[in-house]
């Protein structure tokens, strides 16, 4: 984990065009973002605005059509598949909307497999216990995902994302499948991680309340970054996204 301060993630004129048959569909149309180490940044926007694509490019899961994604000094747009895999392993932690825990493994197994991929041997019981303790599920260590509530599954997913001590935690709609109470718990957990461990977090969300927990809010529309002042039509009279 990085100490606060200094640019940890920089996106420069990022573009991504998907080809659907012979038709080109632009998902990102020149995005520029700079995130400091230790920041908690929320990215908000309507469906199809390109925020998930942006997250995938930031995490090295996909290659941009043009532009740059610089993670901790490494330009992902110029790296090979293997180098991006290595970067994901060493610098990035992912939390997904649908938790995506491996169903055949226990909570402990899900954390161990992440560490196994990290390639630093198996974490000791103490380290696993500490990680799972951070998300408040020490008593569920030997449970399988199917035996956990959705909120608990997402907390395990957060713990798994932290196994490799990532420079950046990328959360893709982490509260999208949760009720209000579990959503609040997950957001509190992320805030706590950011506050106490200076964990850099980039969170994508639909939820304006969720978006407010970050230090900074980036709003997107049609593949571009906009702000409230520039895009008032995004928010209705009740302050909710359209």
């Amino acid at each position: 984990m990085m100490e606060a301060g200094g640019t940890i993630l920089k996106v420069v004129d990022l573009r991504k065009i998907y080809k659907v048959g012979k038709v080109e569909v632009p998902a990102l149309r020149g995005v520029n973002i700079e995130i400091q180490a230790g920041e908690f940044v929320s990215i908000m926007g309507p469906s199809g605005c390109g925020k998930s694509t942006l997250l995938h490019l930031m995490g090295g899961l996909a290659r941009p059509s043009s532009g740059k994604v610089i993670v901790d000094g490494t330009d992902l747009s110029r790296t090979s598949d293997a180098e991006r895999t290595r970067l994901r392993r060493n610098k990035i932690g992912f939390v997904f909307q649908r938790f995506n825990l491996l169903p055949t493994l226990t909570v402990q197994g899900n954390l161990e497999i992440a560490r196994q991929i990290f390639g630093n041997g198996y974490p000791g019981k103490q380290e696993i216990a500490e990680l799972i303790g951070v998300v408040g599920l020490a008593h569920k260590l030997h449970h399988k995902p199917v035996e956990l509530s959705v909120g608990e599954q997402q907390r395990v997913a957060v713990a798994r994302a932290l196994v490799n001590h990532p420079a950046i935690l990328l959360a893709d709609e982490p509260t999208g499948n949760l009720d209000s109470q579990n959503s609040r718990q997950i957001l509190e957990l992320l805030v706590e991680l950011n506050r106490t461990k200076k964990q850099t977090i980039v969170m994508i969300t639909h939820n304006p309340e969720a978006a407010e927990v970050g230090h900074r809010l980036i709003e997107m529309l049609d593949g571009r970054v906009v702000d409230h002042a520039n895009a008032p039509h995004l928010v209705n009279t009740a302050g909710e996204l359209c």
Partner: protein, 368 residues
């Protein structure tokens, strides 16, 4: 310690079970069928070599499979053979076979022998119950046939349009399963004065090879086989045996290949999202390939072990149902069958593993 391949194979138990069973069937098929072939061959070779003769003397172009030969040599040729230097004893044997015993279809070999000369050759007919031949209609059966078909002393056995009486039961493991008087068999089969082979005992102190060479030179064209090399000659002459074994081996590999290919292919499709997650966590292509291959290896390994168990079970079942058959489960065949099962399975897992490794992480994560 998290073991994803191990936990995966226990997750879909039915599919894993079918995969294991299919590999096991391939393995046991190789072991039991090859074992049955080899076993029958070895048992036959053992029974011939256990007679104690040193040399088999047969008509030109005869087969080491005595069942294929018939009486084409004059019985009197034995006298001339006895005159060859180094020959201690000669016993004529006429071979025949019947295809049913008490109405039950089975191939049973019969030796027509002159007991005194046959017994001089070596082990001879070791009577364990009853007596030798008391008359031309008497027969002797060995203990295996007696047990398998419930044949007892004094029983009448109709064969070759005649009724024969069981006068004795002999120890199994040498010669034929059934014996009758040479003249009786010659009469019954319409080959008076004829014999199919001569068993020859070499005098003590004389080398079998030298005597065999002397016989070959004096009786040109006749087939002279030293019993020492009989097993090898038998296997060399077992037309199609090697091909049969190879076909079985190829079949076992193909079965393992196809089953594992299908099982792992469907697994990969089902686990597409999980593979996406692993890639998001930083798993490289090699890690994914290793994961799929390890899972396949475990299924194949379990399949091989179950296959070994099935083979032992199959052998026991065959021996119970058909006591006169022999299934030789040869240690080297276990190793070959294991390698075939595992090799076939791993080959089948290669394409699914490659496909999994090449999955686009974003597409995999969005897979429904």
């Amino acid at each position: 310690m998290a073991n994803l391949p191990l936990s995966n194979i226990f997750y879909r138990k039915t599919r894993t079970g079918i995969g294991i069973l299919s590999v096991a069937l391939g393995v046991s098929m190789v072991l039991v069928l090859v074992g049955l072939t080899e076993g029958s061959l070895n048992e036959y070779a053992d029974r011939i070599t256990n007679m104690g003769a040193d040399i088999l003397f047969m008509a030109p172009d005869s087969s080491p499979f005595l069942v294929l030969n018939t009486g084409v040599m004059s019985e009197r040729l034995g006298e001339k053979l006895g005159e060859v230097s180094g020959v201690e004893a000669v016993a004529p044997v006429l071979h025949w076979r019947v295809t049913s015993i008490k109405g039950v279809k089975k191939l049973v070999s019969i030796f027509g022998v002159d007991l005194p000369s046959y017994n001089r050759i070596g082990r001879g007919v070791e009577i364990v119950e009853g007596t030798g031949f008391q008359g031309p209609g008497d027969i002797i059966v060995d203990t295996v046939l007696s047990t398998a078909d419930g044949l007892k002393l004094g029983d009448t056995l109709p064969m070759m349009n005649q009724d024969f009486r069981i006068s004795g039961i002999c120890k199994a493991g040498a010669g034929a399963r059934m014996y009758m008087r040479l003249d009786a068999l010659q009469e019954a089969t319409g080959q008076p004065g004829k014999t199919a082979l001569f068993l020859i005992k070499v005098a003590q102190g004389r080398r079998v090879g030298d005597v065999a060479a002397a016989l070959e030179s004096q009786f040109e064209g006749y087939k002279v086989t030293a019993l020492e090399g009989f097993v090898e000659e038998l296997k060399d002459n077992a037309l199609g045996l090697k091909q049969f074994t190879r076909v079985l081996s190829v079949l076992a590999v193909i079965i393992s290949f196809l089953v594992i290919l299908l099982a792992m292919y469907t697994t990969i499709i089902e686990r597409t999202r999980e593979i996406g997650v692993l890639k998001a966590l930083g798993a490289g292509k090699l890690y994914i390939i290793r994961l799929v291959m390890t899972e396949s290896f475990l299924i194949c390994l379990l399949g091989v072990l179950v296959g070994f168990g099935l083979s032992l079970l199959g052998r026991a079942l065959i021996l119970t149902l058909f006591p006169t058959l022999t299934v030789a489960l040869i240690p080297s065949q276990f190793a070959i069958a294991a390698l075939l099962g595992i090799f076939g399975g791993l080959a089948g897992a290669l394409y699914p593993a490659y496909r999994a490794a090449r999955l686009d992480p974003v597409e995999a994560l969005n897979f429904e």
